[in-house]
Symmetry: C2
């Protein structure tokens, strides 16, 4: 028979989840559908629903239920729904209740102010406009860290919000390996001479781009019954309900980047889509961490969507969609162009290799900031020096330097590393999939992606948040997080071939 | 200085409003954007947000604040924001706290079940599938009515939910006057011979219809900054935030009805849009009753949108949009066609005159049901007899008879009369506007509608819910609700002209 206290906990968590789903919709609508006149009212709705979701979760009776359910947890299999729900909820609850609501409120408010300052600061390339806000954000992060048991490193506490249970030391080790391999790789590629990608810029009808992105997404698993795809300036994915996946993409009329953005967001979407439906309306019903999530967006964008076999199938179709622009461009030239490696200023436009250097730079600066080894006022200089050192590029102004991302203004210290962790993890999982499925290229060349999707669902997606990120990686790959497969992949794919 | 308890009340009500706005968005998205796969999760989100909004409002501390604020209310002007907010909130609070949450829950659940049964029942034209649900709904309404002080008539309590402070006796009197005038008018029109409207059926591109509807709406006051218009099978308007008005319309490829649906929903939208922005995030920040709301949808759909002067401006444009279908149809023939009066089976397709007979029939049957003078099982027969008597049409099956509307399945007894009350009120307000503004036809012929909109905003819309519906009507028109202007309007516009 079912333990009534477990049912009560489940019911409460279901209601919290209903509110979070409502928040997801409020957010999606704000960015995709809302007329601008609705901004003020929407900000209030988002704040109130978010606060009530939080209050509903951190209420003392939830703590009491969690205490009372220790027996059930211990007598249930570690893998069982019951044990997992209690364990994960306890972890979430302990984190959430450590931080006073006033501090949560202050952090949210200051982030909002800083974000408002970030826009104009970037526009004017004027770091001074943002500096005081970053200093406040940093001070608030110190107060936040102080709410928790002392960790090995201050940064550990921040990282844990985005990549639970991962330590700064582990990330540092992985990134050191990446840096050691990638800096020379970038140089080798540069020495091999330039790749022509001029034909990727031009006049590309946005409706045709959208249709083409949809065609790919449908081949990947998108259905009209459970998905949407809408245009937006800054692409993202959200799911305002189980069986309701919302992708967005940025349709630029002068390049084809929307196609890769669509595949990227599909990867986030298919992870949420594949979570076991029995976990819906519980805290277990979504992807487990930002790193794992990014591993899937990068899998579908890069490992699939920038592969030769993928374009073997889709390139003739793309040529048909854009005959004037691509009719005379060979498949191999196109493949090389969409895989061109070249150091550049802007993270979000970076290629598969140099992208990681952008992340490593941010990861290092974040640690120095939180450990007060670097003052906010000295941030631009530190940024520029390191860009020169790691990527050999000179930063012409802060807009294209330290001001390019919104993350720090939003208060998200500890977020960036998850992007490169995702890259690393993606290839570990990919190699396991290949072991089970054999060569996928022949299938991709026929436009078949179902087996890959089903393997990923079966081994990763369906697990949701039942286990920690590290447990999840180990269950899927049989090993801990490891940079070697990723470095090997980059080298095999992108290093200049000996003539 | 501000009374801190008043600020506390305002803050609480603002949060309740935030949740209601979130509910409005969940509902809009469900009907307009959501992939079908999201239904189950959405039902849960809607239920939870709705329940929390209710709980947040009926909490005992709200009652305490209302008691404590009697002094402030009495010492403030009746028209002041403070007195109005306290007075209206007290009325809402007293109604809301009289009904036990369990009964509210049961009514919602049973409505949902009945609505699920209604679809198939209508599809199969099988009243028996719906009958037990209607019986349950009726029984629950009896329990609902029992929560309140005894009224003159049982039906008064139900009516009050949709048209506050209006009594059944008042409605009965108004409807008796309408019936006495309209039954002979319908006969006169029928005797005058048929009107050709065959050209209103044909092949009408839906994108062109949508564009044309938008062109009208923009002339009326629609802006991209604060409005949206989206297609949906069953048109409605909602506002998920001040400055955020969402219209929907039904784009049928074989007729032009979407144009009138768009104008109808615009009327609902502009009422919400015109509410004084200082009332946002309070219970005063929306239209005051369904009757007043309908008066505005009918104003823009019929008084404006089916007038000669309106079409003097728009008909050449419509001909340009649909040259094949309308190029050879004279303006006067078109005007007569969109104003054709002909008894028919379906309420929502009815003309301006016979529409009211559909409503009167429902109003009478509802009273008989709630007073147990009519058993649910005898409803189809009573319906059919009265359709014959009032409109002279024979009902071929229940799908086109008693099963055509979802309202009774949804539990909405007392809702229907507000449609005809809206018609009646619309002309009372219209006549007052004409007194102030003089002849509007010349302006309509030039495509100018701003003065009318501004007059309505100034005299009606901006008031929101500060006063009762009756007070509002009296403030706008100087008199109580009165059927004579409406009957006079219908007769002048639609009665056959002596040769």
């Amino acid at each position: 028979m079912t333990e009534p206290r477990f049912e009560r906990l489940k019911q409460r968590l279901a209601e919290v989840d209903d509110l979070r789903k409502a928040s997801a919709l409020l957010f999606w609508d704000q960015r995709v559908m809302m007329p601008t006149g609705g901004s003020a009212a929407r900000a209030e709705s988002i704040a109130t629903v978010g606060r009530l979701a939080q209050e509903h979760f951190v209420a003392p009776d939830v703590g009491k239920l969690l205490d009372d359910l220790r027996g059930l947890e211990e007598s249930s299999d570690y893998d069982s729904f019951e044990a997992s729900l209690i364990r994960v909820t306890r972890h979430d609850y302990e984190k959430a209740t450590r931080v006073p609501p006033e501090l949560v409120g202050e952090m949210r408010r200051e982030s909002a102010h800083a974000l408002s300052a970030w826009g104009p600061a970037k526009e004017d390339s004027n770091f001074e406009l943002l500096r005081p806000h970053l200093e406040t954000n940093l001070e608030l992060r110190h107060r936040y860290v102080a709410c928790f048991e002392p960790a090995d490193e201050t940064y550990d506490v921040l990282l844990d919000d985005y990549e639970p249970n991962m330590t700064t030391a582990e990330v540092r080790e992985i990134f050191a390996e990446l840096k050691e391999e990638l800096v020379p790789l970038v140089r080798e590629i540069a020495d091999a001479g330039p790749v022509d990608d001029s034909f990727l810029t031009g006049d590309f009808n946005v409706d045709t781009q959208r249709e083409f992105g949809l065609e790919i997404a449908r081949r990947f698993g998108y259905t009209e019954e459970e998905w949407r795809l809408d245009p937006t300036p800054h692409p993202f994915m959200t799911s305002p309900g189980s069986g309701d996946i919302r992708l967005t993409t940025n349709l630029r009329p002068d390049d084809l980047s929307s196609i890769f953005a669509t595949m990227h967001e599909f990867g986030h979407g298919v992870y949420e889509w594949g979570v076991d439906r029995s976990l819906a309306r519980t805290p277990l019903g979504s992807g487990v961490s930002l790193g794992l999530h990014e591993s899937q967006s990068r899998t579908w964008e890069n490992l699939v969507g920038r592969s030769r076999s993928f374009w073997r199938f889709f390139y003739p179709r793309l040529q048909e969609a854009f005959p004037e622009q691509l009719g005379s461009v060979e498949e191999e030239a196109f493949y090389r162009a969409v895989n061109k490696v070249q150091p550049s200023l802007i993270r979000i436009d970076a290629d598969e290799v140099t992208y990681n250097m952008h992340i490593i730079l941010r990861f290092e600066l974040e640690q120095e900031l939180i450990e007060s080894r670097l003052a906010v006022k000295d941030l631009p200089e530190a940024w520029n020096t390191r860009m020169e050192e790691y990527l050999g590029v000179e930063v012409p102004d802060d807009a294209r330097g330290v001001l390019q991302d919104m993350h720090w203004a939003a208060g998200g210290l500890g977020y960036f590393p998850t992007y490169s962790l995702g890259n690393v993890i993606s290839v570990q999982i990919w190699e396991r999939a290949l072991e089970d499925l054999g060569d996928l290229d022949a299938r991709f060349e026929r436009g078949e992606f179902g087996e890959l999707r089903e393997w990923l669902s079966e081994h990763l997606y369906r697990l949701g948040r039942k286990f920690t990120p590290q447990e999840t990686i180990e269950r899927v790959t049989g090993s801990r997080i490891d940079s070697k497969p990723y470095v090997r992949y980059l080298r095999e794919k992108l290093a200049p071939q000996p003539a």
